[in-house]
Amino acid sequence: MSEPIRQVALTTVVLGVLVAVAACQSPPSPQGPPSAANSSSAATSTTPTGSAAAETVIDISVADGAVTPTNATVQGAVGQPIVLVVSSDVVDSLHVHSVPEHVFDVEARPDQRFEFTVRVPGRVDVELHNLHRTVVTIEATP
């Protein structure tokens, strides 16, 4: 009765160890620190000036009570400047839940630039206050 179960258990242990070994050898995860080349993802664009290659730029537009993007994820790095470029048709405020936190007043006009850096690694939500929407989550790695 217990002999087959014993064999199942042994097989599972062996399989488990194999999976663990395979996982150890898997390529670096996408959460690893991004290099300067791929630091801008789908929701970002590099600055036209090109002077600060390490900048992460996030374009945000608020129109007709809706914000684009929402709930996006962007890779960033600690100490590296992050720039929010906001075009809005209403007054609102952006809250950046980093350590330390930042608050930016958004006016009803295009191309406002807000720059900040994140000091402590973590997932940083950028939230639009009046609309109650999370615009983007920045995964700031060390």
Binding site: A23, G32, H95, H97
Partner: protein
């Protein structure tokens, strides 16, 4: 009104960043270990029950027990906690009414996570320091009789822990599902309702009410079953012993399983609610909820899903506990309660995996804020915001290892406890097959937990 900065601090009501998601490789290694260890325990391990709450343990020196039991020391601890509460309330009322206030950090971080951290080491400390118990005793003393002895009615046994389950759910609801977790007003209303419910209940049912209905006391008692320190019931001495001998002393009452379900379900919901899938779902459907408006509709959806998580944990656990052969109907009905303590290690492991960096980092920030309760630039005890250390966040690989380690160790201890309990409860011949459903359920909880830590 509170300043409008305070009422949008979303994450757990205390603001700041949250942990980076655990990489897939860490989650996979954790999952592989959890699976392998589970089957090793079920099939290769011992065949007669090993763990027994009646084991004596190694007694600590007698002065330790004397100190813990000394009325003077108990009064000093209780009054110190009461003074601390008053300090926090003064800061809440007259301190900065924005994100600089210490109240959310004390409430969500020091109370919720700190209480678990202390209870898992030294035991059910809330019973000794609970401010509502102290107030109730002070009122009783001033009226010239003992608060414990003056119950007007006997606490009904069929209430069990259910009032505490409601309280625990109210707490996690405020933190994870309410429209405004960071709102000082909302937290103050919650605390007021809690204090009124505790003191009124105690006036009717005496101090038994605190033991059954105070969410923090039941939480503290639950977590404390994993503590290495306990009291030898025969001699009354404080002893050091194997936590696995201590675990089965979790009282089995109506609602014991529900306590576990709220604790585990809400922590899982907290991870899940940060995922993009869930946020998109809430954003897309909030407006379709009638009567509550867009913002209120989002809270209704979050509440429904939070409740769903809790119910899923409760139903799957009860179902798995009953899924055995060779027991009578009566015995089968009792099984979920008699196995409930096996969930405690999984709950505690997951709480620490999830909130450890919160406790350490937001906890430090909170203490710094408490050193300047009124926002006047005081630096009591020479604490200033520059002192806060973010060591865990700055070393993500260490934090990830700790997180996955907490989940896997919690899972292993839970599985060992469940195996041992099955040997005691189930008839010979049904012991191996009878515990399979429980083992698979625990594996499912752990894999789900790891998947959620990975970021879904």
């Amino acid at each position: 009104m509170t300043a409008d900065f305070a009422d949008t601090v979303l994450a757990h009501g205390v603001g700041g960043s949250t942990d980076l998601p655990v990489p897939l490789s860490y989650a996979l290694i954790g999952a592989a270990w959890a699976l392998a260890l589970t089957f090793a325990v079920v099939a290769v391990a011992w065949r007669t029950p090993r763990f027994d709450p009646a084991k004596p343990g190694h007694p600590l020196p007698k002065w330790v027990s004397d100190a813990v039991d000394s009325p003077a020391i108990r009064w000093i601890a209780a009054l110190a906690a009461l003074v601390f509460t008053a300090w926090v309330l003064v800061a809440a009322m007259w301190g900065p009414q924005g994100s600089g206030n210490a109240l959310p950090g004390v409430f969500y971080v020091l109370l919720w996570v700190g209480l678990a951290a202390i209870s898992v080491v030294v035991g059910p400390i809330w019973r000794a320091i609970s401010p509502v118990r102290t107030i109730s005793r002070l009122l009783g003393v001033s009226r010239g009789h003992r608060a414990a002895g003056d119950a007007r009615r006997k606490y009904p046994a069929n209430f069990g822990y259910w009032p505490a389950v409601l309280g625990l759910f109210a707490f996690v609801w405020l933190e994870l599902a309410s429209p405004d977790p960071g709102s000082l007003t909302a937290i103050k209303i919650w605390i007021l309702a809690y204090a009124v419910a505790m003191l009124l209940g105690a006036a009717v049912f005496g101090s038994t009410w605190f033991a059954r209905a105070d969410p923090f006391e039941v939480y503290s008692v639950t977590v404390s079953r994993l503590a290495p320190l306990r009291r030898n019931r025969a001699t009354g001495r404080i002893v050091v012993g194997n936590p696995l001998d201590h675990l089965p002393t979790m009282p089995v009452r109506a609602g014991t399983v529900a306590v576990m379900a709220v604790l585990l379900g809400s922590t899982a919901f907290d991870s899940f609610s940060q995922s993009r899938t869930f946020r998109d779902f809430v954003d897309g459907n909030a407006a379709t909820v009638p009567f509550f408006g867009d913002h209120g509709g989002a809270a209704v959806l979050r509440t429904a899903v939070l409740l769903l998580f809790v119910v899923i944990v409760g139903v799957t656990f009860s179902g798995a506990a009953r899924a055995t052969s060779g027991v009578s109907r009566e015995q089968r009905r009792e099984l979920p309660g008699r196995l409930a303590h096996c969930l405690i290690p999984i709950v505690v492991g997951y709480i620490f995996a999830h909130y450890l960096s919160y406790l350490v980092e937001r906890g430090q920030e909170t203490i710094v804020r408490l050193a300047d309760p009124l926002g006047k630039g005081w630096q009591l005890l020479a604490l200033d915001p520059g002192d806060v250390q973010y060591f865990l966040s700055q070393n993500p690989t260490l934090l990830w290892t700790i997180k996955v380690g907490c989940v896997v160790v919690g899972h292993l201890v839970g599985v060992i406890a469940a195996h041992d309990r099955a040997l005691r409860l189930l008839p010979v011949g049904h012991q191996l097959v009878g515990q399979l459903a429980m083992m698979l359920t625990m594996v499912a909880y752990t894999l789900t937990g790891l998947y959620l830590l990975f970021g879904g």
